[in-house]
């Protein structure tokens, strides 16, 4: 009896607290779900759903105003492969991807190093570092539309700032129609992207350099290392993660570039396709040509391009340098 009853008693005895415990745990989940749900719902409605719709629309001939869309399979993607303007756009985006992030990161690193370690003793920043830090950050405060309009003025061949300065210092021969010459236009746009991005990455790198223990630099300097050597052997390896993240962000900017090109360039996208980018082709195809299906196919292509780039860029993360 006792053998039989004991377990029952035992089982019965701890029973009362169990429901409350479970309720407590449920309350915990309830809180987590309650906190996540609104964000998740918004994310699904405004991020996941448009993506899903774009994927679906890229397989149709939807014209943007019809209540129905006809399924056309992969026709849109086949057309993409033969669309010379879109291929120009891919080429230009790749050129931007190749040069713009590298230039921005190089200048950003240089400025950050100068601000943190550029002093004559190699231990502190150049004189007026705080001032430069703020000034270089200014472009970050301007919206991209304003940046584009301002640089449009600066590039004006007749009364723009750039040709004005060139003429004032007697370099009339270098004055150009910056945005109207096919060989210069894309570089003119690229320069603006670098200009507007450099300040942000300078601040990012500067903060990272600040986080590197000073003793490491002290030791290197005592060993007689030059500024150049400390940069290559200490600063750059320890900033690897930051540089990589910067590269991913800048790469995405390079694969986009829509706003600057749309506002600044001749055509826009010109002269003669010289500054065409994928985003601009997409926009024109959808909103000027009324081919939303085909434009969605461009968007899907851009999506996969960006995804592949991000994966490739983040792969190099394996051999990371850790601070001992």
């Amino acid at each position: 009896m006792s053998v039989l009853t004991r377990p029952v008693e035992r089982a019965a005895a701890p029973a009362p607290p169990a429901p409350s415990k479970r309720r407590k745990r449920n309350r915990g989940y309830g809180f987590v779900i309650g906190a996540l749900a609104p964000a998740l719902v918004l994310h699904v409605i405004f991020v996941v759903s448009p993506y899903a719709q774009a994927f679906y629309l890229s397989l149709t001939d939807w014209n943007g105003v019809a209540g129905k869309a006809n399924f056309v399979g992969f026709d849109n993607f086949e057309r993409l492969a033969g669309d010379s303007l879109f291929l120009d756009a891919i080429k230009n985006n790749l050129l931007l991807l190749l040069l713009m992030p590298a230039a921005t990161i190089a200048i950003g690193l240089f400025l950050a190093t100068m601000i943190q370690r550029g002093g004559s003793d190699g231990r502190s920043g150049v004189r007026g570092a705080r001032f430069y830090e703020i000034v270089f950050f200014f472009p970050q405060l301007l919206s991209v539309a304003i940046v584009a309009v301002l640089w449009g003025f600066a590039y004006n061949p007749n009364n723009g700032l750039i040709n004005g300065v060139l003429r004032a210092i007697g370099l009339d021969g270098l004055a150009r129609s910056w945005l109207a010459e096919p060989s210069l236009a894309l570089f003119a746009v690229m320069a603006v992207m670098v200009w507007s991005g450099v300040g942000f990455y300078m601040v990012l790198f500067s903060a990272a350099i600040d986080g590197i223990p000073r003793e490491i630099y002290e030791a290197a300097l005592i060993d007689g290392a030059s500024g150049w050597t400390t940069f290559w052997r200490i600063t750059l390896p320890l900033l690897r993660d930051n540089v990589q993240v910067a590269f991913v962000y800048l790469g995405m900017v390079a694969l986009d570039a829509f706003a600057l090109v749309q506002i600044m360039t001749v055509g826009p996208g010109g002269p003669d396709g010289a500054t065409e980018v994928m985003g601009l082709s997409l926009y024109r195809t959808a909103f000027e040509y009324g081919k939303f299906g085909y434009a969605s196919a461009m968007g899907v292509a851009l999506f996969f391009g960006t995804l592949v780039f991000a994966l490739v860029a983040l792969r190099g993360n394996k051999n990371r340098t850790e601070l001992a």
Binding site: V44, V48, S49, Y51, A52, Q53, F55, Y56, L57, D61, W62, N63, G64, V65, A66, G67, K68, A69, D75, R79, G152, Y155, N156, P157, N158, S177, W178, L179, A180, P182, T265, V266, G267, P268, G270, P271, D272, G273, R284, F287, E288, Y289, G290, L311, L314, R315, N317
Partner: protein
């Protein structure tokens, strides 16, 4: 975040969820019903030709740009007087396309739309999707001012043609735009310059202008279509309406017509002889037009909206006027033939709740009184005949009105630029290369012909025919 944070499994799981959810979510973009509700109608009568139900509400959405929307609000006053019980919902907006696209897709568009401005709706696409009411009934209805005259017979030439898509008249344009070359009348008078009739005279004039230190021409280089216009006008004058038709109908070798090449050579000659203001190729319309208003250049190509556009920067006594593009010789049209077309598109969506009200409202909006108010307040030619009679016009508006009168039925209007935006872009891009002399006139012809041929072969683009 490193790549290790995301396991392959979680990516796959997310992808699976996405894949399952996609069809459901994707359905919503085109889930609108296309059937539409039949709009309720009242009894038809002589004063109510469409049978508008007096108490049915009317929703009017207009683009509020340079022309404002006061003239529309005035016409709404007339509508309210006629149909006492009607509540009018008026919206003056900027981004017509972004605002109305979802409503068309959902099958609940407004009753009247002024589809104008950047980011407007694609009318051809709307028509193909059976979203627009055929306005033939409106054209054949008695005009507001005179019950004996059909509305159709009060319009300027080309308005019906401009509004016809695929054989149905769905777009009713309110304003009438003429294109030409603009100059300051006092500047020309002061220097004793006469507006040239032939291209030879134009070149001589340019030489004279250049001697005074002013650049003879400038153009809106950032938007090369401004320069396409004089080129096409010269070409069509030489080749006649047959050439225009063959170009619009994408016929093989249409662009290889000798008068097209001659026109391209004439435009290239302008820059070859240094008659274009330096740097024009990089200027936006605002920059080029400002330089022209400041007297840095004498002649600029543009349309009749120029006066309104330049209002705030035009110096007093500048008195801009429009001259017709000179002829190359051997013209098959009148030498006064100009490019003119109607604009400011009014539409009546077929799925609107009060289609009859929309039609009746347009009948009021296209009355002579409303048109006169419009001409007076915005300084633009409306699309009905005689709307500017008896009102004092600025030198610009009277020069445009005079040019339209002189051209008579010889108005040039290219349909291909409306039907085939991809061809338009190819032509304009090539014109920019031609004007900057990066390509020769012969290469220009080749490029444009190739673009037209490619378009003709492209089965995914709907083709139209000009008769």
């Amino acid at each position: 975040m490193t790549s290790h944070d995301i396991s392959r499994r979680s990516v796959l799981r997310a992808a699976a969820v996405l894949g399952l959810a996609a069809p459901g979510l994707a359905a919503c973009v085109t889930a609108g019903n296309n059937g539409g509700q039949s709009s309720s109608s009242g009894d038809k009568s002589a004063t109510n030709p469409f049978g508008v139900k007096a108490d049915a509400p009317l929703e009017v959405v207009v683009f509020k740009g340079a022309y404002g929307d006061d003239y529309v609000i005035a016409a709404e006053g007339v509508y309210k007087k006629q149909f006492g019980g009607a509540v009018i919902d008026h919206k003056g907006i900027q981004k017509v396309g972004d605002t109305l696209r979802p409503r068309f897709v959902a099958g609940s568009p407004p009753d009247v739309v002024n589809n104008t401005g950047a980011g407007r709706l694609d009318i051809a696409a709307l028509n193909q999707s059976q979203q627009l009411e055929n306005l033939d009934e409106l054209l054949d209805a008695p005009s507001w001012d005179d019950p004996d005259v059909k509305l159709r017979d009060t319009l300027l030439p080309g308005v019906v043609e401009d509004g016809t898509y695929d054989g149905s008249f769905v777009r009713f344009n309110y304003a009438y735009t003429a294109w030409g070359l603009w100059y300051s009348k006092p500047l020309f008078e002061k220097n004793g310059w006469m507006w040239p009739q032939t291209w030879q005279e134009m070149l001589e004039l340019c030489e004279d202008i250049k001697k005074t230190g002013i650049a003879p021409w400038t153009y809106q280089g950032k938007f090369p279509e401004y320069m396409t216009d004089p080129l096409l006008v010269m070409a069509v004058r030489g080749g006649g309406m047959d050439l225009l038709k063959s170009i619009d109908n994408l016929q093989p070798n249409a662009w290889r017509h000798e008068s097209v090449k001659a026109a391209a050579e004439a435009i290239a000659e302008l820059s070859g002889k240094g008659y274009l203001m330096q740097g024009s190729e990089a200027l936006s319309h605002t920059e080029a037009q400002a330089a022209w208003c400041q007297g840095k250049a004498a002649i600029i190509p543009s349309g009749s909206w120029l006066e309104a556009e330049q209002k705030s920067v035009t110096p007093a006594g500048f008195d801009m006027v429009m001259g017709a593009v000179p002829s190359l010789g051997g013209s098959r049209l009148k030498n006064n033939a100009i490019h003119a077309a109607s604009s400011e598109a009014y539409l009546v969506p077929s799925q609107g709740k009060n289609v009859q009200g929309g039609l009746e409202f347009l009948r009021m909006l296209f009355s002579r009184n409303a048109m006169k108010d419009f001409a007076k307040s915005v300084g633009t030619l409306p699309s009905v005949k005689g709307a500017t009679d008896g009102i004092t016009m600025s030198p610009a508006l009277s020069s445009v009105s005079e040019a339209v009168r002189k051209a008579g039925d010889d108005t040039i209007n290219y349909r291909h630029r409306i039907w085939y935006p991809t061809l338009t872009k190819a032509v304009d891009d090539s014109v920019a290369e031609l004007v900057t002399r990066r390509i020769t006139p012969a290469e220009w012809v080749d490029r444009v012909q190739k673009a037209a041929d490619d378009l003709a072969k492209d089965t995914s683009i709907k083709k139209y025919e000009r008769k």
